[in-house]
Symmetry: C2
Subunit: 234 residues, 2 copies
């Protein structure tokens, strides 16, 4: 209650990957609930929907992060994904399809976690939060627990902090939750999901398309949670 | 001899991390000698010495790479290294010092390999070459064989290519060589080291300083190989 109390100055730091989407906003709120000071990292990777960046800024402000770094990495230089090139975003695709969709961005979460690791090392953080989820959307290989575990092992070998100090912890608090459970947890923690953005292919004005995988998973999640999506209000 | 022969079109692709320095040029020449078509990736990471980029272009041209991508990632947004911030580059430091020097860039090789992995997946390459070296310069944690092995394990878990196909191979052909051995190998393979650049802190005109760790390791390597450094001629 005393502003910068001694207790507050002893709080630990966590780097949180923040895309501006529903999942990463929830992961960030969980990190804060876990007692961390938040250092939010938003990676702009040449995706078409720059509207995500403004959502990330709104969420970072709402969560009162200690610092928010936006870093541009032009993954469109490599191509290969509907999110970084001219490949069309699929519409009304079966959400139960077992194949990896074209919205998969090659090595995206490996790149994101590597950048988060670099920043964590500089600021003296040992904890990194990422909002990956293997339940409702198991098509992406870099959203699986085995990937997160392998990165955690790598992190401690890759860094001065890992060699000279203790291990890093990669937190993926949503990995085993359904979308409805994620939304329920976020609402408990007071997230205003009106601030977030999920669509892979929004209009110029930033309105979600309603037919891409991400829009439909979000809609299904709110429906199963028995809630209205506040981002669609008005 | 028939230009684009059928044999040539069956050649495998490798992504090679190319900084423009002596080590990465040698690693690239080894990859070519191993029979790969080269896809060179130069990551500009906010380092002070943009002169490296022109060296990378010269080396890429000399090695006749199939494609050269230059990607900007502003690691100076994080700070924490003499190569990305205002921390001074050390002069005439003991090369036998056991500590990790301030020229260490947090998570640099993890970031580089992640980006190389993304590109490899897009172009259908399974092989990535990186010129790390654990002998003459063991101060960097992300130059050790254990790090390379951990990244190789991660790569196959992280990607669609790894899930649906076979594993990735991270080649670190210099990891157990001394600088003199690296130079000897490169000379055998016909590298013109005049094209390369190693200094951490060159003059405006691109001349090496002669006193940073990188200049002194390079000088020691040429001396032990019994050769003159062609980059210092004229």
């Amino acid at each position: 209650m005393a502003g910068k109390s001694e207790a507050a100055s002893r709080r630990r730091k966590a780097v949180v990957l923040l895309s501006g989407g529903l999942d990463s906003a929830t992961a960030a709120a969980i990190a804060r609930h876990d007692g961390f000071d938040l250092y939010a990292l938003t990676v702009s990777y040449g995706q078409r929907h720059a509207v995500e960046l403004s959502a990330a800024r709104r969420v970072a402000a709402a969560l009162q992060v200690s610092q928010h770094v936006e870093l541009a990495v032009d993954l469109s230089a490599f191509g290969g994904s509907a999110l970084t090139s001219d490949i069309p975003v699929p519409r009304n695709r079966s959400l139960d399809a077992a194949d990896i969709p074209v919205t998969y961005v090659p090595a995206r979460n490996t790149v994101f976690l590597s950048l988060a690791l670099g920043w964590a090392e500089v600021i003296g953080a040992r904890d990194i939060y990422i909002g990956v989820n293997a339940v409702d959307y198991s098509g992406y290989p870099d959203c699986r627990p085995a990937f997160i575990d392998a990165f955690e092992r790598l992190a401690s070998l890759a860094t001065r902090a890992g060699v000279e100090g203790g291990p890093f912890h990669i937190h993926a608090p949503l990995v085993h939750l359904t979308k409805a459970e994620i939304i329920g947890r976020g609402v408990e923690l007071g997230i205003d999901y009106a601030l977030t953005h999920s669509c892979y292919d929004p209009s110029e004005a930033g309105r979600p398309c309603g037919t891409c995988d991400s829009c439909r998973l979000r809609a299904k999640g709110f429906a199963e949670a028995g809630l209205a999506d506040p981002a669609l209000a008005g």
